[in-house]
Amino acid sequence: MRDGGSGDRIVPPTGFTAQLTLFSAGAMAFLAVFALALALATGRLADRWSSELAGSVTVRVSAPEGDQDAATQAAMQVLSTTPGAGQPRLLPADEVAGLLAPWFGPDMPVDALPVPSLIDLPITGEDFDAGGLRLRLEAEVPAAVLDDHTEWRRPLVTAANRLRALGIVSLLLIAAASASMITLAAKAALAANGQVIRVLRLIGARDITIATAFVRRFTKRAAIGATVGTLCGMAGIALLPGMEAAGGFLTGLGFQGWGWLLPLLIPVVAGVVGFLATRWAALKMLGAVR
């Protein structure tokens, strides 16, 4: 004779709904890992693009033939005395040719083209004033045009931020879908155990006692399924090509440093979702049983 308290044993084993809950929690956690990785990666991408492009400005000098060198020198003179700016660097011809290569091919004779001089000016201090520099160049070197990359930066950062928002929305949708599936599974289990619930009510069980038996079971299943799904998802992320191999957009897609701990919250969230969804479904259904 076993000792006392039946706990959640008062609910008979439910094979199908158990498998369903485990599988759906696992699958959703797997997807949640990738959605989380996407949200984190796009966040980092937006920050990186923003800081890289905001870390320097480019001055383009385009003067009539014969005045080009003088205008370039004048611009270099102005830039070297600009507060908050580092040492200006005139891009050599081969570097300019490299920038043009994607459009004109590798063997383009850049010297034969009226290509403007490009000066890269690193921003080193917070007292750098792009607007003031622009006015000064207009006054002293009319052939020089300042490009602070705002035109490039804004859409890139906007795109990255939208991707991050999509990742977060995906996470919320995954949580909502998980809650729906667990609620359905819990309702199926409750409906299949109508007779058990009836007996328990007749012998004096309170709703919360009966609900707790179901809630414990489904919370445990959701957490176990989500743990397996999360570990699989993390393994998938770890197997993605590295930064050096992937390059471009894929650079940094995944988790970095302490970020690897974040997906471990997914099983906890799944457990909480399972708890709330089952509790709500159970108490709602029990209300119909006198």
Binding site: M1, R2, D3, G4, G5, S6, G7, R9, I10, P12, P13, Q195, V196, R198, V199, L200, R201, L202, I203, G204, A205, R206, D207, T209, I210, G287, R290
Partner: protein, 221 residues
């Protein structure tokens, strides 16, 4: 209950103007023809149904005002042996019998549980699963479950309906013992021979339902 009326689903009243007060420590029989409302009256007693008219109180409280938790608490003070004994078939007999303690959050005294199973003659079936029990064993297990919380009132709805005479007498003997230990007992049955046999051992009050109303019987028994 006073002037209690009841009709299923708002239909015509099956029971009307029922006035009944169970006397503490008394053995009561409720009799009447099939379909007369015996089960309905018992269900009113443990708040499985609510009266459509009249006043019904249990342990000093208005049954109609009970919350769901209040109904659960009431049922812990009323042990019920149902006509169709229902168990949790995935739990052995001992755990089924101890179930009211578990759901009430009370510890199970294993010695007391063994004594209780011994009292109803089910010691050998403690580990058996409910579907393997005979009709008489199921009724005795249901009686053990009904009394494990030491309720103030024990209700039995046709407990001997599916049993042979010997088993019926044995079960009735258990109910009489229970009454002699101070419990109030109300047994619904249409078996007049059983009532007569019981009345030879215990002072019982016999109530009869006929045509939706309740009468005190006795002289004709």
């Amino acid at each position: 209950m006073r002037d209690v009326g009841f009709g299923y689903h708002g239909g015509p009243e099956l029971l009307s103007d029922m006035t009944l007060s169970l006397q503490p420590g008394m053995f009561h029989f409720l009799t009447g023809p099939s379909g007369s409302g015996k089960t309905t009256l018992l269900r009113l007693c443990y708040a499985d149904l609510l009266p459509s008219s009249g006043q019904m109180t249990a342990f000093g409280g208005d049954v109609r005002q009970l919350t769901r938790d209040g109904i659960a608490d009431l049922r812990r003070r009323v042990g019920v042996v149902h006509q169709d004994t229902q168990f949790l078939d995935h739990l052995p007999v001992a755990e089924n019998v101890a179930l009211p303690l578990s759901v009430a959050g009370q510890p199970v005294d294993m010695d007391a549980l063994r004594d209780l199973l011994g009292w109803v003659g089910l010691t050998q079936h403690a580990r058996a699963m409910p579907p393997s029990l005979s009709g008489g064993e199921r009724q005795r297990a249901a009686l053990a479950r009904a009394v494990i919380l030491s309720p103030d009132l024990v209700l039995a709805d046709e407990p001997t309906g599916n049993l042979d005479w010997d088993m019926s007498v044995r079960l009735m003997q258990l109910l009489i013992e229970l009454n002699k230990s101070g419990k109030t007992v109300l047994v619904a049955t249409h078996d007049m021979n059983l009532i007569r046999a019981a009345k030879a051992q215990v002072a019982a009050r016999v109530l009869r339902i006929a045509n939706g109303t309740l009468h005190l019987a006795g002289a004709d028994l």
